[in-house]
Structure formats: C-alpha cells, structure tokens
Amino acid sequence: MTTQEALFQYTLRLGDTNLILGQRLSEWTGHGPFLEEDLALTNIALDITGTAKSLLEYAATLEGKGRTEDDLAYFRNDRQYFNAQITEQPNGDYARTIVRQAIIDCFDFYFYTELAKSKDETLAGIAQKSIKEVTYHLRHTSSWVERFGDGTEESHNKAQTAVNELWQYTGELFEMNEVDAILIKEGIAVDLKIVKEKWEKHITELLEKSTLTKPENVFMQTGSRKGIHTEHLAYILAEMQALPRMFPDAKW
C-alpha cells in the first residue's frame, strides 16, 4: 500500500464515521425532547455532516479517479463503508443518543487535537476547525450525561443501560491497522494509543461524576476497519442513497 492509498483509506474512514453519525443524529430533527435541545442536537448533526463533507471531498481528491464526495457517499455499499460501528447504532431513547454522542465527542476531542498536528495540511486544517465544534459538543453532551446519571431514577437507569449496551462498540475506535502504521510513520495519522489513554481517563471521570458505573471486562465488537458492520448500516444507506441511485444520471 502506498502512502497515498493509505491516506485515502484513512480519510474515507474519518469521513464515513462523521457521515453516518450525522445521519443518525439528524433523525432527531423536529422530534427532540424540547425545542432548545432539538436545536442543539440539530446543530451538532450539522457540524458533523459538514465535517463529513470536507473529509469525503478530500478523500475523492486523494483517490484521483474523478469521483466526487457525493459519489463516495451515495454509490458505495455497506461493505465499502468504514465508519465505526458505534455511529450506526440506532438512536434509541434520548439517553442512548446522548451517551453514544458523549463517547464519540470525547474521542473526537482528543483525536482531532492530535490530528491538528498532522503533517498533512488538509487533514490538520479540517481537524483545527473540528476541535472548536467538538469542544462545544462535548460540553453539551457531557452536561446531559451528568443530568441523566444524577437526575431521576428513570433517567439514571436509561443512561446506565445505554452505557452498558454501547460499551462493546468502544474498542473499535482505537483499532489500528496497516493504514495507521504507514501514516503514523509519516507523521500524518494519529497514534490511537495516545487518544485511548486520554479518552479512558476523561470518560471514567465523567461516568463517576454522573454516578454511572463503567462496565468492566466487556468483549469488544470489531469489523468496521474491514468494512464489516452491524445489521443497521445497510438500512441507513438504503434510505440515504435511494434518490441518487434511482436517478443515477441526475445532478442535484
């Protein structure tokens, strides 16, 4: 694998993760628990989908086969998607959406802080813009994890169930393969060991503060680095891609 190929794969992975997460979050728009929160979550969806767009645009350039960001988003099958499995998990109740988001925001905060130092200027630029947004997202979702954990018995139970059920998808966030190895050597990619340490510490403190229990010895799911997903992704894509695939010659 050349550095260029690795960089394409890496950027695609980041783009897919943001795209699928943004897609899931946007399912809440108009249906939030109250107006201010509906707006806040829609705003997070908007930021994340915007980041996905920048990343896929860059991925398309790196690939150099004349495909656009929309070709990448709308004309790949689930086995060609590399988003982390946690992003495709159903929204469930609001506690599950918030816990999923807090786990990812916390990861993104440390990840993009590292990526901002990348020798690849485009990725570093996207990361710098993203940190500003993610800082706000993390503050927002963390405050809700605390409210749910230390709110009512019902909210506590819902949040704890979400943590217990989503934890099995957190291992994947830190997996590295040949792509990472090649790019870390070039000073382009982030060493996820560094992110993992910071993420663990931060999320452990957040759960403690929220009177929630951190699951231990959980068997971690894996697969997305190879394009293997949970059953949910194919449905997400079926919905998202329907129109461009129905009219493949159309420009929108």
Partner: protein, 313 residues
C-alpha cells in the same frame, strides 16, 4: 389615569406609528389577538420542521443535506423567538404548547400537506417561504415591538430559504426529464395550497379588520395573494414549468394576472383537521413532547439537587 386616558395613549402610539412595548397598557382584545397570532406563527414554525425534516436523511447530495439541516434548524429558532415574544404578553410557553398539542391552537395549514418527493423541498422553500415572506414583511413594522423585532430577523432568514428553495427547483427544472417532471408535479400540488396561505377572500376574513387597525396587518388577504401571483408567474416561466391554472392570464387593466381561486372547501377542511397530514403532524408533536417528559424531569431534578448542594456549601 382613567381607562380612556390609557386608551388615548395607546391610540396615540398607533397614530404616530410608534411601537407598543410589553409594559405599555394595551386593550385586552389587542393582547388576545397578538397572543393568538404570534403563537400560531410559532406553532407553524415548529410543525413546519416536520415536512421538511422528512427529507433530511434522504437529501440527494451532501451539500443539500447540510443546507436543509441548517434551514430546519432556522425554523426551530424562529419558533423559539416567537414563543419568547408571545411570553412578553403574559402567557407561558407550556400553556401555548398545551394548546397546540390538544388541537386547540391552529398553525399554518400548509404544513398539513405531505412532502412526497425531493422537489417538494424545493417547492416549500420557493413557494411556501415566498408566500410567508409576503405575509411577514409588513410585520417588521407591526405595532407590537417584540413581534416586529423578531420578524426583522425571521424575514432575513426566510429570504435566504426562499433562494435555496428556488435553487433546488432550478437544478430540477434544468436537469433530466425525470427531474423536470418531479419539479412540475411539485408545483402542481403546492400551487393552490400556497395561494390559500394568504387566508380566505377579504369578504370572508373575520380577523382582518382589527388587524389592519392595529397595524398587525397592513395589506388584505386578496391584495397579498395578487402580489404573490404577480411575483411568482415569471419565476415559473423562467423555470420552463407551467402554473396549474388554465385561467391564468395577464390583465393589462389591473397590471396583474387573473387567476383561479383555490378550493376554499378544501381549505376549510384542512383547517378543521381533515388535511392529508393533520393527524400525523399533531401525533408527531405529541409523541416528541410526551417522550421528552422524562428528559425535562431529569433536568429539573438535577438542577434542584445542584441547588441544594450549593445552598449547603
């Protein structure tokens, strides 16, 4: 001051085109009219998030997805400032929402029509937001200060939305045959419902007279409808589409188009709950509100606990 003195001050402000502010005295029926109008407008914004939100997950390009998300978020933001403006008249948001959820309050009937294709998202932006702007531009100078100021911001954003809607229509109308057919179909379905947005003909409009006197309204329903047709027909022609009205004709004498009236029987039915999506829209709002109850309770319980902690410290 005697009551009639208060009334003189109020009438004086109207006569001098001055703003009435929350702490000023105002007649009860003025206050009631405003609460009704502002809250209906707020409800329309948040119910309007539903038909447009319907296509966010299916927007056909990443750019259009981001634009639509931002647009629907703006509509929610408009709802927020309008609820706040209504609250300055001494009514709570809970009460207003309760009126919406129980079906007591009205919202713009246009949102009881379904968004069936992507072209409907273009048509809603272009036609529905276009008609809304025409209704709302005059409200920037309305007599009640908080409402007028909210409308200045809302109108700016709505003009932007209208351009975005027209852009979607342009891409479709100048696209493939399938896309053009999709655009025409959307125009066919949205034309008359949009015309209904200006309200019943002047002769049958019960709320117009006071609204004109109080500068809550400045042009009549029929005047606005005519203006809308005059403005929109050239845009339809530019797109190479056809207005679904065989009687549409330029009338040189009135310097405007003659057009067919919308079906007012349908209008009355949609207003009274028989539109294609009335029940679904209300059900979706109620579901979101009911399922959000434990979230709001958790936030309150948490805030109370923290307050106690601070008090004890």
């Amino acid at each position: 001051m005697e009551l009639n003195k208060f009334e003189d001050v109020f009438e004086g402000k109207l006569a001098k085109n001055e703003m009435v502010e929350p702490k000023d005295w105002m007649p009860d029926n003025y206050r009631k009219h405003l609460i009704r109008q502002i809250s209906q407008h707020a409800h329309s914004e948040i119910v309007g998030m539903l038909p447009e939100g319907n296509w966010i997950t299916r927007a056909p390009s990443l750019r259009s997805k981001v634009v639509l998300l931002a647009k629907v978020q703006d509509e929610g933001g408009h709802g927020l400032y309008l609820y706040t403006a209504a609250e300055t008249l001494g009514v709570s948001r809970d009460e207003l929402l309760n009126n919406l959820h129980t079906g007591k309050a009205k919202y713009s009937s246009i949102f009881n029509y379904p968004t069936l294709t992507w072209a409907d998202i273009g048509a809603v932006g272009w036609l529905v937001d276009g008609a809304a702007i025409m209704n709302q531009v005059m409200l920037q100078r309305t007599s009640y200060g908080p409402y007028a100021r909210a409308m200045v911001r809302i109108c700016k954003e709505e003009s932007f939305h209208q351009r975005q809607g027209f852009e979607i229509m342009t891409r479709l109308a100048f696209g493939t045959e399938d896309q053009k057919a999709m655009a025409q179909d959307a125009l066919n379905r949205w034309w008359y419902p949009t015309m209904m947005m200006f309200g019943p003909p002047d002769a049958e409009s019960p709320n117009s007279e006071n609204a004109m006197k109080w500068r809550i309204k400045r042009e009549t329903n029929d005047q606005l409808r005519q203006k809308f047709v005059n403005q929109t027909v050239p845009q339809v022609e530019y797109l190479g589409l056809t207005v679904p009205d065989a009687n549409l004709k330029w009338n040189e004498a009135k310097k405007g188009y003659d057009y067919s009236e919308p079906n007012w029987v349908e209008f009355k039915n949609v207003i009274s709950g028989n539109g294609p999506c009335n029940k679904e829209r209300l059900a979706a709002r109620n579901k979101a509100h009911d399922e959000g109850a434990w979230v709001r309770e958790a936030a309150q319980a948490f805030a109370k606990k923290r307050k106690e902690v601070y008090a004890a410290a």
